[in-house]
Amino acid sequence: MMGGRRTTGSLAIWAACAALYGCDAELTGSSAIRVFGRTGVGPGEFSYPRAVARTDEGRLFIVDKSGRIQVLDDAGEPVISWELPESDAGKPTGLGLGPDGRLYVADTHYSRVLVYEPDGVLVMSFGTRGTAPGEFLLPTDVAVDHESFIYVGEYSGNDRISKFAADGTFIMTFDGSESGGTALARPQSLTWGPDGNLWVADACNHRICWFARDGELLGTFGRSGDEPGAMRFPYGLDWLSDGTLIVAEYGNNRIQRFDREGRSLGIWGRAGRRAGELAYPWAVAVGEEDDIFVIDSGNNRVQVVPAAVVRAASGTTTASAYTKVEP
C-alpha cells in the first residue's frame, strides 16, 4: 500500500518536473539519442558544422565555420584537428573519403578540392574558379569511386557534377539534362549507393537523383513539400545497411528514410533546439550498427540516432519522434 503511494507520488513529481522542464527526458532517455559537441571553437566544439565523413574504423571528419577539420571518434571525443590553408572567403561544405582512406574536401569558396591524408597532411589540391568545363564556382561535395575517379558537385549557376581522374585531370561534366531530365540545382551531397551508382541530393529541386558512373541520369524521386515522401532542400545523404537511404532535409529540419524506389519509410526529428530536434541539418553519416550521425548545424552539435529509432518502423518509437508511412 505505502509502496504504491510512493510510486504514485514520485510519478506525480516526475510528471510535474517533465511539465516544467519539457520532455527531453523522453527523447534522450527512452530512445537513447546521443548528443555530442557544443558551440565553440575548442576541441569537440563546433561553429556551424556543415559536412561529415566517416571511416569504417569509426573516425568522423567534421568541418565547420571555424575553418578547421576535426577528427573525432564515434563517442565524440576529439582525436586531432587541423586548419584549412585559407578560410576567410568561406568554409567547405562537403567531405568525401577515397578508397585509399584520403579525405577529399570541397573547398567551396576557394573553388577547389583539397586532398588530405587522414592525419591532416595536405597531399593535393586542384580546381580553379570559372564556369568552363573542369572549373568550379562553388563546389559542394566530393565522392570518389573504387577506381579513384573523383566526382565534384557544384552550384551557383554552375549546377553540375564534374568527373576527374585521381590526379585531378578533368574527364567530363554532367547535370542530368544530357539524359533528358531536369538539370541539377545545387547538388549538395554525393554518395555511392549499394547499387554502385552515384546518388545525389539535388537540393534546390527538392529531389534525389542517381547517376551511372558515365554521367547518365538513371532516376529521380521526390518533390517539394513537408508531407512524407516530399522534401525541402535535401542536403545530406547516406545509406543504412539494409539498403535504405537516409536524407537530411535542411528545409524541413528532419531526417527521412526512403527505399530505393522513393517510398518514404519514416520521418524523424523536427525543428527545435532540444535533443531530438534539429536546426538546419546539413549532413548525415551512418556508423556502426547503423547509428546515424546527424550534423545538427544550427545547434552546433552532432546527434547520434540509433538504428532502432529509425529502422523500427513498426511503431515502437513515439509518434512524435518517428512516423511510419505505409508505401
Binding site: 572567403a89 568561406g90 564556382l137 551557383s156 540545382a185 537540393a203 525543428a271 544550427g298
Partner: protein, 1004 residues
C-alpha cells in the same frame, strides 16, 4: 562556497519584541483556564501556546537569519581612456591575469573596463574568463566615479567586496573623490594601482583663440598657445575655412610658419583679415621638425571660429546631373538671385560635408531637387538643427527627386518643412509596392543591419504604399518566409516592430523567398510601381528562369545589393543578371554603412507616383504672404508638374493647385519653425515643368523675396564676447556696453546651444557683474559648440533686440593633454576610501582579507515562522481536544490477541479490582456531596477528574459495568427533585388515562 562561521538572528523591527512581556501573563492565565486537562496536558498546552505567541511576535519583529561570509569579491577597474598608453593598458590587464592565478577557493574576480563609459567585462567569477579588454567606447573621456559605482553594483551583497583601481587618475567626468567616503561607509575599500607614465618629449597645442565675433572687413588676431616639455623646433600650418594660409611667403614650397619652441608655454599671434559675413573657421597645426620629439601627435591641433555678422551667403545644393546639364535649374536660380545682389554658392549635395559651423556662413540653404540619399543622416539632422535652433533658412525646390519622391519622407528635414511629404488624404493616388528580400550573409551584425535597412526603407514610403519583407525562416510557420506580409504601410509602427523581430536564416535558395514576393506583387492589380530589393551575397541558388520571366511580364523591377565581408566570395554575376533582366540596379559593396542609403534610394523607385506631371494654372490663395507681395497683379504663369505633399495646419500656403477632385495641393508653402523659417516650392525642374515660369518677368523678384524672407538675419552687436574652455567646461562671457560706453544692465539674453552631436539645448546667460553676462556648459566632446543668442535691452519703445552667433571649438580630447598620472588624486581617493596603494609586483595582495569588514548575509525567516506558528496552533488545539489513551490502545491490542480465552481468568481479578474501585467511588461521592451542599449558582460543567475517568476507563477495559450512568457532578437545578417526581407520576397517570379513553372510543 559560502561558509557560515556563525548563525545569528536579527530583527528588522525589534520594537515588537517588547510583546514578549505578555508571555508570563499568558502562562498564568492558561494555567488557570486549562486546569481541567491534567498536569501533563496542561503544561504541554501552555508550552504550545507560548510557542505560538513567541513565533508570532518574532514574525512581527521581522526576524532574519544572519551569516557572516568569508567570500571575497574583487572588482578591478581598468582605465582604457586615451590618456593611458595602450601598452600600459595591456600591462594592467596582465596584472589582473597574474592576480587571477592567486584566486583562492572563496575568491571572486570581476572586471569593469572604463573610459567615459563603464562596461562590465566580467561579473565576479571564480576564474578569469576574458582574454583581453574590449575596445574603448568613449576613449576621449575618463569617468572613474561612474566605473566605481558600477563596480559597487556588481559586488554581491553576500560577500565581502573590494575595488582595485588601475588608472592614471586623470578623470574629466564626475568627481570620484566626492563619492569616496560612500565606498568606505559601504565597507568596500578602494585599492589603487597607479598607471605610471611620463611624456617628457611632448608638445601640446593648448589653445587657438579667435574672437568669437567680428565685423566684416575687420582684421582679427589669432592667438596660439603651444606648450612644450623641452626646446623643440617645428612649423605651424594655419587653415582658414579649410584653405591653407601661406604664413611663410619667402619659401614657396612650405606654407608653414617656422617656430622654435622654448620649454613651457609659447605664444604666437597671427593677424587674419576677414572679408565676408558668416562663420570663419580656423585650424592650426604644429608639425614637429623631428617626429621623435613629440610623443602624442593627436594634441598638436587647435581649432577656433569667428562669426562675422551681416547678410550671409546663400548655399544652393544640387545634383551633379543638374549641374552638368546645359539647362541647370540650380544655375538658373543662382543667376536670378545674383541679379538681386544676393551672394550664392552652388555645390553638389554631399560633396562637402555640412556641419553647423560651415552652415553659419550661410543665411539660407536651398535644396534644389536633391534626393535624400545624397546627404548623410547626420547632415539631414544638421539641416534641421540649423533651422530650428540656429535660425537658418531652408528652401526645398521640387522636381522628380524631391520631397516624398526623393526619399525625404520620415527624415528630420521633413519635420521642419511646412508640408508633410505623405499624402494620406489623396483618393486618386496611385500607390506603389515594395518587397524586401533580406539575407544576412554572415556580415558582422548582419541581423541588426538588415533590420535598419528595412526600417529605413519603410520610413521613406507613403502610408498608402504597400510593403512586404521576406527572410528565410528555418522554422516554417503560417506566414511562410514573410516577416511582414505585403500590406499597406499605414501607421508604420506595427511593421517596424515586426521587422525588429526579423531573423534572417541561412538562405539556401533565393527562389524560395523571392517567389512568394513576386506572386504577392502580381496579385495586386491596384498598385502602380512594383519593386523588389534583394540583399544577399548571392551565394544561395539563384531564381529560376520562369520566375525572372514572371517578373519581367508583371513589370516588377528588382534591384540587387551584393554584400560580403573580407574575402568572402560574392556571386556578382548572378546579382547583376537579376538586376539587368528585370530593369533594376545592381550594387556591390563591402561597406555596410552604405546599405541604408542604398535602401532609401531604392525605395524611391515606388514613390515615382508622387510626381504629378501636366500643365496647370497655380492659384494664388493668399496674396498677403510676404513672399508673393507685389506679384499679384497678373495670374501666376502655368507650371508643368509638381510633387504631391500635404500642407501642415499652421503653414501659410500662398500658391496651390486645385485638382479635379477638389483637393488643394500645395505649390508654395512657408512657415516659421523654431528660430528659423522654411519654404517648400513643390514645382521646379525648369524648363521641363515651367518654360513660362522662367520667362516670367517677376521670376527674379519672386525668388529674391522668397530667399530674403527665409534668410537668417544677423546684426552687428557692440558686445565683447569671450569664450573659454577648460577641463570639459566651456564658459561664454559677454560684456555689453551701449553707445555711451556705459554698461548695459538687466538685459535678457538667451538662446540655443548646439553641440557637436547636433543636439540643441536652451542656454540662458545670467548677469554676473555690471554689463557682464555669463553662462557655462559642458564641452567634453571634440567638435564645435555653437551658440545662437537673442538679446533684448531697454524697455518699452526704447527696447532694442537682436541676435548674436558665437561658439567655440574643442580640437582634441582632454585625454591627449595629460602628460603624467594624477597621483595626488589617486592617493586622496585611496585615503578617503580606506584602501591601499598597491605595487605591481604582488598581485596576490588583492585577495588579502586583513582589515576587511566581513559581509553578512541576511535572510528573512518570518514566512517560515508563520508556518511553524500555524502548526503549533494546531498542536495546541490537538493537545486540548484530543486525549490519547494508552490503555485504550492496549485494550484493543489485547482484544485482537484473543478476547474469549483471557476473559474467565481475568474476570475474577477484575471483580477484585472493581470492589476496590467501588470503595473509591463511594469516597469520592461523599466528598462531592459535601461540595454540592455548598450553594453555587454559577456552577458549570467541569470535566471529570482524571481519577474518576481512570476508574471508568479501567472498568470498561476490564469488561466490568460502568459506574458512571449518573452524573457525578451536581448540576444546577431550579426545581427540587421531589417536585419533579410528583410531576413525573402525574404525567404518567394522565397518559394512562388518555390511552384508556381512546381504547374505549375504538370499541364503540
Amino acid at each position: 562556497m559560502i561558509v557560515a562561521s556563525l548563525a545569528l538572528i536579527r530583527f528588522e523591527e525589534p520594537g515588537y519584541l517588547a510583546l514578549l512581556a505578555v508571555l508570563p501573563l499568558l502562562v498564568v492565565m492558561s494555567y488557570r483556564s486549562l486546569a481541567g486537562l491534567g498536569p501533563v496536558r496542561r503544561w504541554l498546552a501552555i508550552a504550545a501556546r507560548a510557542v505560538v505567541v513567541t513565533l508570532m511576535i518574532l514574525a512581527l519583529a521581522g526576524a532574519q537569519r544572519t551569516k557572516t561570509i568569508d567570500d571575497l569579491s574583487v572588482v578591478f577597474l581598468l582605465d582604457r581612456s586615451r590618456s593611458v598608453p595602450e601598452d600600459l593598458q595591456r600591462r594592467a590587464y596582465e596584472y589582473i591575469a597574474r592576480a587571477a592565478n592567486e584566486l583562492g577557493q572563496d575568491d571572486r574576480l570581476g572586471i569593469v573596463a572604463f573610459d567615459g563609459a563603464a562596461e562590465v567585462e566580467q561579473l565576479p567569477m571564480a576564474a578569469l574568463a576574458v582574454d583581453a579588454i574590449s575596445k574603448p567606447y568613449a576613449p576621449d573621456q575618463t569617468n572613474i566615479a561612474g566605473a566605481a559605482r558600477l563596480a559597487m553594483a556588481l559586488l554581491p551583497s553576500d560577500a565581502t567586496g573590494r575595488i582595485v583601481l588601475l588608472s592614471d587618475g586623470n578623470e574629466n567626468i564626475g568627481a570620484v573623490l566626492s563619492e569616496a567616503e560612500q565606498f568606505q561607509a559601504a565597507g568596500v575599500p578602494v585599492d589603487v594601482l597607479p598607471i605610471q607614465y611620463e611624456h617628457s618629449d611632448e608638445v601640446v597645442f593648448e589653445a587657438l583663440q579667435a574672437p568669437p565675433t567680428a565685423t566684416a572687413e575687420e582684421t582679427i588676431n589669432l592667438q596660439m598657445v603651444i606648450r612644450s616639455q623641452r626646446a623643440a623646433r617645428g612649423s605651424i600650418l594655419l587653415y582658414h575655412n579649410d584653405a591653407l594660409i601661406d604664413l611663410n611667403p619667402e619659401d614657396e614650397r612650405d606654407a608653414g610658419y617656422p617656430v622654435d619652441l622654448a620649454p613651457g608655454p609659447n605664444r604666437k599671434i597671427v593677424p587674419v583679415p576677414l572679408r565676408a559675413a558668416g562663420a570663419h573657421r580656423f585650424r592650426a597645426e604644429f608639425r614637429p621638425a623631428d617626429p621623435d620629439a613629440d610623443t602624442i601627435l593627436s594634441n598638436n591641433e587647435g581649432r577656433a571660429f569667428t562669426v562675422v555678422s551681416g547678410q550671409g551667403k546663400i548655399l544652393i545644393l544640387a545634383t551633379p546631373e543638374d549641374l552638368e546639364s546645359s539647362r541647370s535649374t540650380a544655375l538658373l536660380l543662382k543667376r536670378a538671385l545674383e541679379r538681386e545682389r544676393l551672394v550664392c554658392e552652388v555645390e553638389v549635395a554631399g560633396a562637402n560635408p555640412l556641419d553647423q559651423v560651415r552652415l553659419l556662413e550661410y543665411s539660407a540653404v536651398i535644396l534644389d531637387n536633391v534626393p535624400a540619399d545624397d546627404l548623410r543622416d547626420d547632415e539631414k539632422q544638421t539641416l534641421a538643427t540649423y533651422v530650428r535652433d540656429l535660425g537658418g533658412g531652408l528652401i526645398m525646390v521640387g522636381g522628380d527627386e524631391s520631397f516624398g519622391a526623393g526619399g525625404w519622407l520620415g527624415s528630420p528635414v521633413e519635420e521642419v518643412m511646412p508640408v508633410a511629404f505623405d499624402v494620406k488624404h489623396k483618393k486618386q493616388f496611385l500607390k506603389g509596392a515594395l518587397v524586401l528580400v533580406m539575407h544576412a550573409c554572415e556580415v558582422e551584425r548582419g541581423n541588426y543591419l538588415g533590420e535598419r535597412c528595412a526600417i529605413e526603407a519603410v520610413k521613406t514610403l507613403s502610408s498608402r504604399d504597400l510593403v512586404g519583407v521576406l527572410a528565410w525562416k528555418w522554422q516554417s510557420d503560417a506566414q511562410g518566409h514573410w516577416t511582414v506580409p505585403l500590406q499597406e504601410v499605414g501607421r508604420r509602427t506595427p511593421i517596424i516592430n515586426a521587422i525588429r523581430q526579423m531573423s534572417m536564416g541561412d538562405l539556401p535558395d533565393l527562389d524560395e523567398v523571392m517567389r512568394p514576393g513576386v506572386k504577392a506583387l502580381l496579385a495586386r492589380e491596384d498598385v502602380g510601381p512594383k519593386h523588389m530589393i534583394v540583399v544577399s551575397d548571392f551565394d544561395p541558388q539563384g531564381p529560376r528562369p520562369d520566375l525572372i520571366n514572371m517578373m519581367k511580364r508583371g513589370g516588377i523591377t528588382c534591384s540587387t545589393i551584393a554584400i560580403g565581408y573580407g574575402g568572402h566570395f560574392i556571386n556578382e554575376g548572378l546579382a547583376d543578371s537579376i538586376a539587368k533582366e528585370t530593369g533594376g540596379r545592381f550594387y556591390r559593396t563591402n561597406d555596410t554603412s552604405k546599405l541604408p542609403q542604398i535602401f532609401i534610394k531604392e525605395s524611391r523607385e515606388i514613390r515615382r507616383s508622387l510626381v504629378q506631371e501636366g500643365e496647370f494654372q497655380p492659384r494664388l490663395v493668399n496674396p498677403l504672404s510676404p513672399i508673393v507681395q507685389g506679384l499679384t497683379g497678373e495670374p501666376v504663369p502655368i507650371l508643368g508638374g509638381y510633387v504631391l505633399t500635404t500642407a501642415r495646419e499652421l503653414a501659410d500656403v500662398p500658391l496651390s493647385r486645385v485638382t479635379e477632385e477638389g483637393d488643394e495641393d500645395p505649390i508654395l508653402a512657408h512657415w516659421r519653425v523654431g528660430l528659423g523659417k522654411t519654404v517648400a516650392f513643390t514645382s521646379g525642374l525648369w524648363p521641363r515643368w515651367g518654360p513660362h515660369w522662367t520667362d516670367w518677368p517677376k521670376f527674379t523678384k519672386f525668388w529674391a523675396q522668397l530667399v530674403r524672407w527665409s534668410s537668417r538675419q544677423s546684426e552687428a552687436a557692440a558686445f565683447d564676447v569671450r569664450t573659454t574652455v577648460h577641463g570639459g567646461k566651456a564658459r561664454i562671457q559677454i560684456d555689453a556696453v551701449d553707445k555711451n560706453a556705459s554698461a548695459v544692465n538687466l538685459m535678457e539674453i538667451a538662446g540655443r546651444l548646439v553641440n557637436p552631436a547636433n543636439e540643441g539645448t536652451p542656454l540662458r546667460l545670467t548677469q554676473t557683474g555690471p554689463g557682464r553676462y555669463e553662462a557655462e556648459f559642458d564641452a567634453r566632446d571634440r567638435g564645435n559648440y555653437i551658440v545662437d543668442l537673442r538679446y533684448r535691452m531697454g524697455r518699452g519703445t526704447e527696447a532694442v533686440s537682436g541676435t548674436l552667433q558665437t561658439g567655440l571649438s574643442v580640437a582634441y580630447s582632454p585625454e591627449f593633454s595629460e602628460l603624467r598620472p594624477n597621483l595626488p588624486l589617486l592617493e586622496e581617493l585611496r585615503q578617503r576610501a580606506g584602501g591601499r596603494m598597491l605595487g605591481e609586483q604582488e598581485p596576490a595582495a588583492v585577495f588579502d582579507r586583513a582589515g576587511l569588514r566581513r559581509a553578512e548575509a541576511r535572510r528573512s525567516i518570518w514566512e517560515s515562522l508563520i508556518y511553524w506558528m500555524l502548526l503549533m496552533f494546531l498542536v495546541d488545539v490537538a493537545i486540548r481536544r484530543i486525549a490519547i489513551n494508552p490503555l485504550e490502545l492496549y485494550r484493543k491490542a489485547r482484544r485482537r490477541l484473543g478476547e474469549a480465552a483471557a476473559f474467565g481468568k481475568e474476570g475474577k481479578e477484575a471483580a477484585a479490582v472493581l470492589s476496590t474501585l467501588k470503595d473509591a467511588r463511594e469516597r469520592v461521592r461523599d466528598e462531592q456531596r459535601d461540595d454540592a451542599a455548598q450553594p453555587d449558582a454559577t456552577a458549570r460543567y467541569e470535566p471529570r477528574t482524571p481519577d474518576q475517568k481512570a476508574s471508568e476507563d479501567l472498568s470498561r477495559a476490564l469488561g466490568g459495568a460502568s459506574e458512571m450512568e449518573q452524573p457525578v457532578v451536581a448540576r444546577p437545578t431550579r426545581k427540587k427533585p421531589a417536585e419533579s417526581e410528583a410531576d413525573y407520576t402525574s404525567r404518567l397517570l394522565r397518559a394512562k388515562r388518555r390511552a384508556r379513553d381512546e381504547m374505549t372510543k375504538d370499541e364503540d
